[in-house]
Symmetry: C2
Subunit: 603 residues, 2 copies
């Protein structure tokens, strides 16, 4: 419902209708206050609209910049308008609904959605709906600024996915057909970003909705033949790289979420791992590079002077050979673990082996993950700056310093590669202080997505979220506490600087929600939360099972950011993690906070 307030007694009150990017549209007015229209989106999706104004006006259309008196128009860039006289109300209201199914359904949706209330009532209802969602987590303490940042983030975590069920039917972009269903059908999920913290957050707050989402994924797989990795309205949009919906399925399954066909889901994620191309921004069957990966255990890169020979490679996105190998290792681990859950022991073993593929690109001289060519030779690169725009020849959007840490599924294995926990900790320290070796503008001209920099750490991009929590695995939880507080304080202010990078459909906000509450799902696929440093003295999460999870941080403040000691359900907790089962059982985490680190806690 739109409300347009015109100057009092204005003689010129008009509203113009247009569609995104001047695409193909049709508009028609009837009765002086009724509009019906349809937009063709992404070439194959019809978006029907039906709406009514609160007053009668004179409709017209725009054809090649000429205003005409016709009341309907169709074609590319078609626009229409309606003009109200000075006698019409100064506040013009327009109520409308859309449908992906038909004009009739749009009208029906209009009737279903507008049941008599006025603007104020609708606003009040929306406020109530949001309050219900946002108040599911109650916090005490913290500064006003921290509370604003937290609740803004929590709000944003509820923007996607989007339920497109209309009266028991939905139009699917996955087979271009209308389906009947009794459940919600969700689209629009940016999994490369959201598998990390947003899906895990929803698994806590709204497991029934998460179940519907998983079921939607399975439906999409059944309709299209492929399990999507970045499902949007018109189908799977294979942004970024990896098959991280696999990790999402494993994580939710292990957190007890059911209500979807897990065998069918497994079939889909296994098909991705064995028959789909791993190439970034590409869908469909595997190519020679994927066969190479299955045999050799790494995705091959080109030597610096070598021309691309594989036509399927996206000309801008390139091979991202290291990023694909590391992401593939994680996804393969998840396939194997889900196989284990389903007692598919052969698959479990096969994929457990592939889960260690990341080791194939560990370069012991450079102490980084470095690309290899198809002959197994290292490519001689500067992992900080080589690989073209966004480092895409080898990495993706970020450089080797970020990809050094992309082994969430085998942190102990990564520690072993580095030699020991001290080396690992030192390397973490170095990540946060390593210089750019060049001006910031020169760096950003190459890595524009690596924003929110602290040394080489990029708070503004998802692959960095878990990095500050890795200190918990290296005997220095106090450094996790220090970093997390610093990062929240610097990069998630309640001011015009907002969010330090692409918010990615809730992906980034979920990091803020978890981190502000004091814990984080460091390895999606393992139902474990690692403990950081809460900004609040008390957090109460109202669970859908009727229980409450509580986090109490005594003496917590801007200064008192270090954990002195901890209890879980009243018993001493001497490690910086707890699990999902403990959380949903209505557990209580109690922390004693202080101004100086207790370097012995949690080690």
């Amino acid at each position: 419902m739109y409300r347009f307030s015109f100057p009092a007694k204005s003689a010129f009150k008009s509203v113009l209708f247009n569609v995104y990017n001047d695409g193909v549209a049709k508009w028609s007015f009837t009765g002086g206050n009724e509009l019906a229209g349809v937009e063709t989106y992404h070439d194959d999706i019809k978006v029907y609209v039906y709406g009514q104004f609160n007053a009668k006006g004179t409709a017209g259309v725009v054809n090649n910049d000429a205003l005409l008196k016709e009341t309907s128009i169709e074609g590319k860039g078609a626009k229409s308008f309606i003009t109200f006289t000075a006698d019409a109300p100064d506040v013009i209201e327009f109520r409308y609904a859309i449908s992906y199914i038909s004009p009739e359904q749009a009208k029906q949706n209009f009737k279903d959605e507008f049941t008599g209330g006025d603007f104020a009532a609708l606003k009040q209802a929306a406020k109530g709906a949001w309050a219900k969602v946002v108040n599911q987590i109650a916090v005490e303490g913290g500064t006003v600024a921290q509370r604003r940042s937290f609740y803004t983030a929590l709000y944003r975590c509820n923007e996607r996915m989007v339920n497109i069920n209309e009266d028991g039917r939905y139009y699917s972009g996955y087979d271009k057909k209308v389906h009947e269903t009794t459940r919600s059908f969700y689209v629009d999920d940016w999994v490369w970003d959201t598998y990390l913290a947003l899906h895990p957050l929803r698994a806590i707050l709204n497991p029934a909705m998460e179940s519907d989402m998983l079921n939607s994924y399975v439906n999409m797989y059944q309709q299209s033949g492929w399990m999507p990795t970045f499902p949007v309205l018109f189908g799977d949009n294979p942004c970024m790289n990896g098959f991280h919906s696999t990790v999402m399925f494993l994580d939710d399954y292990r957190k007890g979420i059911r209500g979807f066909d897990v065998e069918k889901a497994y079939e889909g994620v296994k098909k991705n791992a064995t028959q789909a191309t791993m190439l970034p921004w590409k869908n469909g069957p595997k190519c020679e590079l994927d066969d190479f990966y299955y045999v050799k255990g790494y995705f091959p890169a080109l030597q610096k002077d070598e021309k691309e020979t594989v036509s399927l490679v996206h000309p801008f996105e390139k091979r991202q050979a290291v990023a694909v190998t590391l992401g593939g290792s994680y996804d393969d681990w998840a396939v194997g673990q889900l196989a284990a859950e389903l007692n598919k022991t052969d698959d479990e073993a096969l994929f457990a082996k592939r889960a260690t593929n990341y080791k194939n690109l560990w370069n012991d001289d450079k102490r980084m993950f470095i690309p290899k060519d198809k002959a197994g030779n290292w490519i001689n690169i500067d992992p900080k700056f080589d690989g073209g725009l966004g480092g895409r020849d080898y990495y993706d959007e970020n450089n080797g310093w970020t990809y050094l840490w992309q082994v969430q599924h085998d942190i102990d294995g990564l520690i072993n590669l580095m030699g020991n926990k001290i080396n690992f900790q030192n390397k973490l320290d170095q990540t946060f202080r390593e210089g750019l070796d060049r001006s910031k503008y020169e760096f950003w001209a190459k890595f524009p997505d690596a924003t929110g920099l602290v040394g080489q750490y990029s708070m503004g991009n998802e692959p960095s979220f878990h990095i500050p929590y890795l200190y918990n695995y290296a005997g220095a939880p106090w450094k996790t506490q220090k970093r997390i507080r610093f990062l929240l304080d610097v990069w998630y202010k309640d001011n015009i600087f907002g969010i330090p990078g692409d918010e990615d459909g809730g992906g980034m906000s979920a990091f803020v929600v978890f981190s502000s509450m004091g814990f984080y799902p460091i390895t999606p696929g393992r139902p474990v939360y690692t403990i950081g440093s809460p900004v609040f003295s008390k957090v109460t999460v109202n669970l859908s099972n009727g229980k409450q999870f509580k986090m109490v941080a005594n003496n917590c403040s801007v200064i008192n950011k270090y954990i002195q000691s901890a209890k879980f359900n009243g018993k001493a907790l001497n490690k910086p993690w707890f699990n999902h089962e403990q959380l949903v059982a209505g557990g209580e985490l109690e922390l004693e906070m202080g101004p100086k680190p207790n370097k012995n806690w949690g080690i």
Copy 2:
């Protein structure tokens, strides 16, 4: 005085001595706790040091990375060290003094400066000295954050210039000789940055010090034959462009500052305007481009495909033809106005004519200042993005949108070029919302100094300081109030983001001090302050003449940022400015603030 705290009973307590950039140095230890040394800075300045430790240690030197037992060393990259045993105090203190004159003077300075007090006493004395400076302005109201930003800025305004008088003598980099004097001799002034707000601020707060600075400039002119524009320790470092020390002399003279040889000063600034090259980052006699300027009234640019023919042009800094012409017009105006003050009527007329040279580059089609070649043809450029790194072929560090406003000395003339005040105001609005037309990182790769962007407005670079105040001249003081509050709030936070660009030796901080107090010296050279929007409800400036200037802003708050009405000394003030004479007489500006603009006030 340095204090080094070592771990208790540490067996390894060493201090290493090195010089900037591994330059030429000499070090020698005597008596186990005495150090004498000399560094050669900038090839021709000797910096002598003399110091003492609070304990005896074992000295050594470093020669090509080898630690040797000698107690003295000399040469390029020479380093020395001293090591204390476990029995020595855990807190090692080092007191030292430097001299630019001689080793003996360094020792004498040491004696003069350390008169018995310990570390705590010295710290207390320093605090007292700073408190005296900082508390010269008392504020009430505003947020804690605003007070922190304000006093931090005021502190920074006292870092430069630096008095290098040692016991009545100083070494001058301007003739490489030692001079005797009874006054302070000041060096290190970044005039392109500081003539705008820092010198005007000092003219209010410490006119005696400002007088000593002007006298130092005259001495430098007498010693070197040229009036400096960016005087540092070793001589004039002709950074940036323009002869803005001319404007500084005029401004101070008109504010009643005396105690320097104004005739000699005039001789120097006139010599700059008639015999020195205007080329950026170049000192010395004029070249053919300057002769061209004198005759044609603009600095000629090269056509895009034309090679540089003038060998004096700096290969990186280029001609900056528009920036030089606009800056030259302002400086020429200032020469003429100073001539008027000194009753040199011929010069007054000559330079008044040159003061309008900026008009020669006004392009009525592009509504911008656009470069012309030597034949008088326009160069066909995109003023937003052309001109190479920092736009230096035509502009400097900023693009045509910033240089559009570089006519502080003739604002009415600029309004006339634009047609009328409405056009002028619209163009100001557009400056604050004009897009980059490209990604931010692509823009910054070309204009790395144009930081703190709001549209095309760059809060992070000095040429933009006066722009938000220009609304006062175009019938919309409320927009000045709105912009200034927005800019202070966004770009001068009391947090890690600090200052939005190069602080430039107090240049930028002085903008914050003035703007937070609610007024600004929009045209240095005219002793007038234009009124913005104070962040404080009361400001008291303790003047050196024993009087107080007061600014009272009733109802001032973060929300109440708009001036509703004003009084000066109790009488209604209906224009947004007052003058220096009124200020130093102990005037009182009283504003009534409110949440909505009074668009009629001050127009």
